[in-house]
């Protein structure tokens, strides 16, 4: 069987990639992609800890939480992309370096 550490390392790598995409990319859609990557990494950890926990057949909380995360991520990406499209319509750009009108 696969050791639990492998899951954790993969999830840590995906989370870090998502974090860098969220903080360091210029395009707003790439930032949303980074958020999706981070949510996926969290889901991998949830599933891994479910599998290696006590009585995985009876204790399904990890899987249920992962399903909730998937559904909330779907709602989040729909709203996020709607905001990006709205911003693009008003300002003709999705470059985050140019979107600083809230800055005082």
């Amino acid at each position: 069987m696969v050791p639990l550490t492998w899951y954790l390392i993969l999830a840590a790598f995906m989370f870090s990639s998502g974090l860098f995409a969220t903080l360091g990319r210029r395009n707003a859609i790439a930032v949303l992609m980074g958020i999706e990557l981070m949510l996926n990494a969290a889901n991998i950890n949830l599933i891994a800890f479910w599998r290696y926990g006590v009585a995985p057949t009876e204790n399904l909380d990890g899987q249920i939480f992962a399903l909730f995360v998937i559904a909330v991520a779907a709602a989040e990406v729909a709203i996020g992309l709607a905001l990006v499209i709205s911003v693009y319509r008003n300002r003709r750009t999705v470059n985050l370096d140019d979107l600083d009108i809230l800055k005082g």
Partner: protein, 177 residues
Amino acid sequence: MPELPFPLPPLPTVSQVVFLMIAVLAVFGSLAVVLARNLFHSALGLVAAFFGAAGVYIVAEAEFIGVSQVLVYVGAISTLIAFAIMLTRGMMFGATSPRNRQSGTAAIITALTFVVLMALMRGIPWPQAGEPIVDGQLIIAGLGHAFVNEYVVPFVLLAMLLLVALAGAIVVARDRK
């Protein structure tokens, strides 16, 4: 057989080999999301990363989550992202750099996060193998029971959230003219 001066590592099992192949797919997908200059290549990398995550769930014997992942992420979310990229095409080509002004700081924070996560992970005696799952159908039946018994209120709230989010997305993205 002569004695080796060092102990050979144990041979990987089939599931470990499969996991490693899936992990390589997910890692390259994640790197493409972060590094690709063309945003559409980023989206393709994201699809690879989603498939990798689905494969990881299936290796971990959470098949229902794996199929849900393919349906929701690969089927719906990737399509949404592809549409959004095409609708905001101005940024796709000819951008000078895919990174913004604070990307140096972001790289430092990201590297620190990864190092801290790895350091936290070391030294804990993680289990090498989980309890064997005899009847996988019990899991799917258990999920169904849980969603209509103890988790029914979160389930209904989640349905409400999805409805409100989709209606809100239409309102926000609608052309008002």
